[in-house]
């Protein structure tokens, strides 16, 4: 997510390392680099100015100047300021004491409102609530249809009226239907709108006034540039939203919009959208995000990902086998698939502290296609071959290469690597420490 910003800051501070005390010129240099990084990350200019002023003020203070490790002090300050700007600790969604809780979704066209209405409904349903989604986007062709399809996918009812043209009446009817049928959360999806379109902004206000939502949520695309501030201010002036969902954060957008929106409106980021699937909605953690920006890695997210995707019994079984040195190619394939379920390998590596930097320096490229080929090779083996690779002779190798669309050399390479790994496992099982591969 914030990879490039991480690079830049590390570049600045490695330049300062080993210099002992910082001069005013050093600080200025660091500030310029921080400014540039933040701008490249799409943090809006006024917010950048405010942030760098705050950082500079603290960085020129006694705590840094008299420190033996000024670079670490500056990193600490930047980290703290970023975290502070993003709102300190994680904030959760407010629920009404008297159900139903009504949540109104708003945003620009294409920001991801409909998709995130469904993601949020799924999350609430998973928490044991009974959500109802209301389709009020009467403008975009097939938008109501889209919400209905998503509702079916996640098994959450959708209130819709075909041919309806009045979103205010629709929203009201939706809330009434929720009361009637005992649903305790109502999510009102609205049409995307430009902030300059006064008719559309008035419509949103009318919907809000009609349903009196517990929370108004603004959906903001993580890829938004400098305009994020204007958009946030315009929605804030019109409907006073309560929180933000930052969508499409699974790409390589640096997401400076998160800093901007929070900073100018004071409204918290509640969730981040991290994928195409309806279950890819996560709580926003400002501290983790700041750590990530600073290249401190995001181990917590990695662990969470692993917990969600790895079957514990499987993992234990394979661990036992590894200890005994009895790992088969089948187990290896299992492992590979488990890891891949967590996401692209490159993305996972970025979460490990120091690793993304190291990987880039050595120009290590994770080639997913190579892993595809490894999968193909093992899949082309018979079960006895996977269990006892020793029986794989020349003609078997040719068959496997042909079956997997690879070459005999590639098959040989994989078998050699696997053999080495087995040896290593045996040694580990006997209590020896593994040598650090390639580090």
């Amino acid at each position: 997510m914030f990879d490039a910003l991480t690079d830049k800051l590390q570049g600045v501070f490695s330049g300062l390392k080993g210099r002992g005390k910082l001069t005013d010129a050093d600080i200025d240099k660091a500030m310029r680099a921080i400014r540039l990084s933040l701008l490249e990350a799409d943090v809006s200019l006024p917010v950048v100015k405010q942030l760098t002023t705050a950082i500079k003020e603290r960085a020129t203070g006694d705590e840094v100047m008299s420190s033996i490790t000024p670079d670490q002090q500056v990193v600490k300050i930047v980290n703290e300021e970023l975290t502070r700007l993003m709102g300190g600790t994680n904030v959760s969604l407010a629920m009404s004491p008297t159900p139903p809780t009504v949540i109104l979704m708003a945003g620009l066209q294409g920001s991801g409102k409909t998709t995130h209405t469904a993601k949020l409904a799924r999350l609430l349903a998973a928490e044991g609530r009974a959500p109802l989604m209301v389709a009020c986007d009467v403008h975009r062709p097939a938008a109501m249809e889209q919400l209905a399809v998503l509702g079916e996918q996640i098994d959450v009812p959708v209130h819709r009226e075909d041919g309806a043209t009045d979103p205010v009446a629709l929203a009201k009817a939706g809330v009434a239907a929720a009361k009637r049928t005992g649903r305790d959360v109502v999510l009102v999806d609205t049409a995307g709108r430009l902030t300059i379109d006064t008719d559309m902004m008035d419509e949103l206000v009318a919907i809000r006034d009609a349903v009196k939502p517990t929370s108004v949520i603004l959906v903001v695309d993580a890829m938004t540039g400098q305009t994020a501030v204007d958009v946030a201010v315009a929605f804030q002036d019109a409907v006073q939203f309560d929180g933000v969902i930052l969508s499409k954060l699974d790409g390589d957008a640096r997401g400076g919009a998160a800093l901007s929106v929070r900073s100018v409106t004071g409204k918290p980021i509640l969730f981040v959208g991290t994928g195409e699937k309806v279950d890819s909605l996560e709580a926003f953690h400002p501290d983790r995000m700041a750590s990530r920006i600073l290249g401190m890695g995001d181990v917590l997210s990695l662990i969470e990902k692993a917990q969600q995707n790895v079957d514990e019994d499987d993992a234990k079984r394979i661990q036992d086998k590894m200890r005994g040195g009895n790992l088969t190619l089948d187990d290896f394939l299992d492992q590979l698939r488990q890891v891949r379920k967590m996401g692209p390998i490159g993305q996972l590596m970025g979460m490990i502290p120091g690793f993304d930097k190291a990987a880039k320096m050595k120009d290590v490229q994770v080639d997913e296609r190579r892993i595809d080929r490894v999968e193909a090779i093992i899949s082309s083996m018979t079960l006895p071959e996977r269990a006892r690779p020793d029986i794989i002779n020349g003609s078997r190798r040719r068959r496997i290469a042909q079956g997997s669309g690879t070459t005999v050399q590639e098959v040989n390479q994989l078998l050699a690597q696997f053999k080495q790994m087995q040896k290593l496992m045996k040694r580990m099982g006997k209590g020896g420490l593994p040598p650090m591969l390639g580090v």
Binding site: L45, G112, G251, D252, E276
Partner: protein, 342 residues
């Protein structure tokens, strides 16, 4: 919109596609440019952020060009999402001009700025040449950029110019994407080739090209599912769709249009770079310009990858897709009247 403007728009589209302008439609650039500029300006006037305005005012109101003016210029370019490298380039070029005595006042700096931007963006007018019987256009982009809407508007324009259009509903992933496109196809009065949700997008693309050939279509436009450029598997899928289209017809697709939302910041560069790595992007479509009056990211893309902008979306009605005009674009963002004095 006046009829004169509508005619001029249609004439401009004829130019874009290399077609004969229909009777009554002029391909005379200047009146249309003025019309387009007025529309952009109207749109921009209300959306121009409080943010850029002071910087622009700082530029245009200064009688002499000072260090402050350059700072204002740099900030204005950053605010328009041009990105640091393109911003520095432009500022440096203009500083050289000033050093050579060609820029002496804020006003002349403003003129030089729009010249510089227009020159960078389009040395030549954009073209989406037709004439392949059918010409196949593949439309790609990230989620929510406006692909489907762009296709609807494009089909409408082509139909107006007497072209027979077939649309391929290649977004088989997003819920109701096919229905959304079908509504647009209906409005434009063109055929749509579709399969069930979840169908293989490559198969839909193949069918669309085959149907286009069988029905004697002039243009086949293929929609694709929105995808973030970092999603390796989905980018591979796109590469496959592109390959399948080539199997359905030699040399196809003839154009690959990447749709970019005007609100996009520096990530737009990554979008252009990674989409280009998987399919040969021939042009950009800058959508939703009327809402934000930014889109400076196209300068960064042009600078780094040399991909030209061919179309821009300036409003929500079916007639609001326009052939890109670099000068109107530059003036709409950076001319003093649109920003200063509000």
């Amino acid at each position: 919109m006046s009829d004169g403007q509508a005619d001029a728009d249609l004439g401009a589209f004829a130019g874009l596609f290399g077609l004969q302008p229909p009777a009554g439609a002029s391909d005379d650039g200047e009146p249309r440019r003025r019309g387009l500029f007025r529309r952009l300006r109207d749109a921009v006037a209300s959306s121009q952020s409080q943010a850029i305005s002071p910087q622009l005012a700082g530029i245009y109101q200064s009688k002499l060009v000072s260090d402050d003016t350059w700072d204002d210029l740099e900030e204005a370019l950053i605010m328009a999402d041009c990105g640091m490298p393109a911003t520095m380039d432009i500022v440096e070029t203009l500083r050289d001009e000033a050093g050579a005595g060609r820029i002496t006042s804020g006003e002349s700096l403003g003129r030089a700025l729009t010249d510089e931007i227009a020159g960078r963006l389009s040395p030549e007018p954009p073209r989406i040449a037709l004439g392949h019987d059918p010409t196949v256009i593949l439309v790609v982009g990230v989620n929510g950029s406006g692909k489907t809407t762009t296709i609807g508007k494009l089909a409408h324009r082509l139909t107006e110019l007497g072209q027979k259009v077939v649309i391929g509903a290649g977004d088989t992933f997003r819920a109701a994407a096919v229905e959304q496109l079908a509504v647009w196809a209906d409005r434009a009065g063109v055929d749509i080739v579709r399969q069930a949700p979840g169908a293989d997008p490559g198969a839909v693309a193949f069918d669309a090209v085959a149907a286009g050939r069988a029905r004697g279509a002039d243009v086949v436009i293929i929609d694709t599912a929105g995808r973030l450029q970092t999603q390796h598997n989905l980018m591979e899928e796109l590469r496959k769709v592109h390959g399948v289209v080539g199997k359905a017809m030699d040399g196809a697709p003839h154009h690959v249009l990447l749709v970019i939302d005007s609100t996009t910041g520096q990530n737009g560069l990554s979008q252009a770079r990674l989409f280009s790595e998987s399919v040969p992007v021939t042009g950009l479509v800058l959508t939703k310009f009327d809402g934000v009056a930014r889109g400076g990211i196209v300068l960064a893309i042009e600078r780094e990858l040399g991909i030209p902008v061919t179309l821009m979306g300036v409003g929500e009605t079916i007639g609001d897709l326009q052939p890109f005009d670099a000068r109107a674009f530059a003036e709409a963002i950076f001319s003093p009247a649109s920003g200063a004095g509000q």
